[in-house]
Structure formats: C-alpha cells, structure tokens
C-alpha cells in the first residue's frame, strides 16, 4: 500500500495509525514535499481483513506475541488453555501499594490489575505481556487504566 501526492508527484510517508475503538481504522500519510496529510479510513470489515493477515498498517510498535492472532480472535477458547511461564523480568501484577522486594521494571496499579482480571483467561497472559511491552517501549514504570487505554488505542487492541 502506497500513497502518492499527485500534485507533488511524491510518495507519501506513513505518519500514524489510530483505532477509534469501533472496529474502524485510520492511517495518516504525509507528503514530504508539501506536508499535506491524508487519512485512509477503513470500515470494520476492511479493518478485519487486514488484521486477519496478522499484520498492522504502519508496522508493529511492540513485538508480536505467541499465537497472537489465535488468542486475540478465537471465540470459545478454553479458560485453562494457557499457562504463562513468566521470566523474572516479567510484570509484577501485584497491586503497586502491596508490593515488596526488588522493584520490578514495570508495576501494575490496583485498578489496572482489577481491569486485567476482567479479561478472559484464554487471552489474559498475552494481554498482560502486550501492555508490559508497551510500557517498557514508552518508558512507563506503572501501568494504570489510562495507560491501558492509551495502549489499546495506539496498538489497536480491540476488546482488550
């Protein structure tokens, strides 16, 4: 997918991606010559078609997770299908105010933990990793519901 600024005869550059949360997608492209920005807007079916391929317009911002598409999109998954084998560097999801011992790189607020517990177990471990990776990528030390909302929007985590 390429966008051409016809007036300048210049290939436009991907600028940003937005997922408003209603299944649609907006991808903005900028002309390097005249700085004009155009947005490609896809409806939910078009968005689904792209995501079914396991790709994201503009590229990934955090690494892909194991069985990401399956775990994100399968309905009716077993609650006990997955067990997370968390390394020492993994997120501490104990409430921030209760934690003790060495400080982990990313902590979860109590409200964020409660919200995470509302995610089906089939996909919870993966969601946790994605939020943690997002926090690390963006230098965020504590994951709160606001951070989760931002990550959802930035990464297109519908339903997470």
């Amino acid at each position: 997918m390429k966008f051409l600024c016809v007036e300048c005869d210049e290939q436009m550059i991907f600028e940003q991606r937005q997922l408003p949360g209603d299944g649609t997608l907006a991808a903005a492209f900028r002309c390097p010559e005249c700085e004009r920005i155009v947005a490609m807007l896809t409806n939910p079916m078009e968005t689904q078609l792209v995501s079914s391929l396991g790709i994201k317009i503009g590229g990934r911002e955090v690494p892909g997770q194991p069985l990401e598409l399956v775990r994100s999109n399968v309905v009716g998954g077993r609650e006990d299908a997955f067990v997370e084998d968390e390394p020492d560097t993994g997120p501490d999801i104990s409430p921030a105010r209760d934690r003790s011992g060495p400080a982990p790189s990313v902590v979860w607020s109590l409200a964020a933990v409660e919200r995470l517990e509302g995610v089906p177990r089939f996909v919870r471990g993966m969601v946790k990793r994605i939020y943690t990776d997002y926090a690390k990528e963006n230098g965020i030390s504590e994951i709160t519901p606001d951070v989760m909302d931002r990550a959802r929007s930035d990464l297109g985590l519908e339903g997470m």
Binding site: M1, K2, L4, V6, D9, Q11, M12, I13, F14, G23, A27, F29, P44, M45, T47, Q48, L49, V50, S52, L53, G54, I55, K56, I57, G58, G59, R60, P66, L67, E68, L69, V70, S72, N73, V74, V75, G76, G77, R78, E79, D80, A81, F82, V83, E84, D85, E86, P87, F122, G125, M126, R129, G159
Partner: protein, 294 residues
C-alpha cells in the same frame, strides 16, 4: 477527465505501510522456527471420513517409538482431534517469550492442535464484525496455521507430521507457508468416490511439485475381532489404482478394526500399535515414511 499519475510499481521508495515487510517477516519467522526440523510431511486425503486423523496420530506414535523426534501439527482447525487421538491433556499450554510449548504425548510426540485451545464441543469461531465472514475466514485460518508453525517451540525434530483437513486448500496454505514440504502421504478408502476426491488432492500436490511418498488404503476390509479374518467393507480398489496412476508406492492396506478404533478413542496408541492388525500395518507405514525421509 483522467488524472495522470504514477502507479504502485512506479514508486520505488519502500512501502511505508510496512505490510509487505510484515508478511516477509512472518515467512522468516516460520523458517527460523522450523530450521531444526529435518523433514516435514503432510498426511492428506481430500475426502473426509477416511480416518486420516487417527492414522496420522498412530503414524506419529509409530515413528516416535522407533526413536525419531516427532511433532504432530493438526492443521484441521475446524474439526481438530489430534490431541484426543494422541491422548494428551487439553490444558495448560505453557507460554513464554520464546513461544508456546507443545504438549507431549505418552509416546513422546510433540502435539499442537486447535482442540487444545477450544472448550469441549465449541466450534471454531472468530471474533469479527457483523456478517460476510467468508471474506476473511480463510485468511484467519491460514494465519492460525502460520502461528502454529512459527510460534510453537517445536525444537529439534526428525519429522513434523501435519494432519491436513479434507479438501485441497490447506495443502496450498501449508506449501506456501513452509520453506520446504518434503512430501505427502495420501489416505483413501477403497471406494470409487474416495478415489475421485483423493485424485484431486494428488494432482494438486503434483502441480506444486510436492513428492507423494505413498498411498495408504484405510478401512480396507473389516478385521473380525472373533475369527481374525478380514472381509471386504467397501467396493473398489482405490489404493492400488491411485498408487499406480500417480506412480507412488502403496504403503499399506489398513483393515477396519473395532478394537483399534476403541483404543484410539482413549488415546491408547501403544497397545493399538502392538496388539491390533491396523496398528501393525500403520507401524509398517511409519517405517516406510522413515526410510523415505532419510
């Protein structure tokens, strides 16, 4: 009035949407994961109800019992049964940053199947907007198969057996995803209807230059549990005819064996291989596969 402008191929700068790059990365990820897999063989039939999943699970167990490191990938996403047939517990797949660890059967076969992921009796359904799901269902299933190949920690394997669903499309998906498909084993039952359907699959494999390692005729007669005699079950001679037409060996004729079916239902593949007529034939087919991939 037409607007004059350059087209996609005229633009030489990289595709900044990175869609093509991501697809390339997906293929590279599959190749990297399977770098330690010495041979990948698909079991297919093109026709449903020929006992392919049972045969595949038994073949995997047979090869593992002969000392090979074997993986079993159930590519039948809609009607998965490899986990049940292999007698593995459908819970607790361990996920780490390196991927998902396959479940290991009692015979040492590393198994990955959609039936490890779905609730009992739940159909495979995808989260999707509204109707018209046919547009992306095929893409979803292909992506799921890709993830099963790329994201499962198969490790070093002598043989990865892939159980393909009925039809020909999944063979195409698999062939496009894999860096190398070393061959297919074709399963049929004796009937003319099966022969016609399986021929299409074999032609599809031939069109893609996938070697046909051999043909197995399943339900090739009924093994009477009382007298031990094998009697005809279906009219026809599809196994021999398909083998001759495609210049492939007939690897075996597997009798329908109620005791084998009963053992397979409970995932008891060791006694199936040791104590049943069907198991004996499939064990010999396993040996033939081992020889073929070597």
């Amino acid at each position: 009035m037409s607007i004059e402008h350059r087209t996609y191929t005229d633009l030489t700068a990289p595709d900044t949407s990175r869609m093509v790059a991501q697809v390339t990365e997906q293929h590279e990820r599959v190749a990297a994961r399977l770098a330690e897999v010495k041979a990948c063989v698909a079991v297919m039939s093109g026709k449903g109800g020929v006992g392919k999943s049972l045969a595949t699970a038994v073949l995997a167990a047979a090869c593992a019992r002969r000392g090979l490191d074997v993986g079993l990938l159930d590519a039948d996403l809609v009607g998965p049964s490899a986990a049940r047939m292999s007698g593995v517990d459908p819970s607790g797949l361990v996920v780490s940053e390196g991927g998902v660890r396959p479940v290991v059967s009692g015979d040492g076969v590393r198994v990955m199947s959609m039936d490890l992921l779905l609730e009992d009796g739940a159909p495979l359904a995808w989260r999707e907007p509204g109707s018209e799901s046919f547009v992306w269902r095929g893409a979803q299933e292909r992506s799921a198969l890709r993830e099963f190949l790329a994201d499962v920690q198969w490790g070093e394997l002598d043989l990865l057996l892939v159980d393909l669903p009925p039809g020909t499309q999944r063979l195409v998906d698999l062939h496009e995803l894999l860096p190398r498909l070393d061959g297919i084993v074709v399963l049929t039952i004796p009937s003319g209807a099966s022969e016609a359907a399986v021929t299409r699959s074999m032609r599809m494999a031939g069109d893609r230059d996938v070697p046909i390692l051999g043909v197995v005729e399943n339900m090739s007669g009924y093994a009477c549990p009382d007298c031990g005699e094998t009697r005809p079950l279906f009219p026809g001679d599809a196994g021999s005819r398909l083998a001759a037409r495609h210049e492939a060996p007939l690897l075996g004729r597997v009798p329908f064996d109620p005791r084998a079916a009963e053992l397979a239902e409970s995932g008891e593949l060791a006694p199936l291989l040791d104590d049943t007529a069907a198991g004996g034939v499939l064990d010999a087919v396993g040996v033939a596969i081992i020889e073929a991939i070597r």
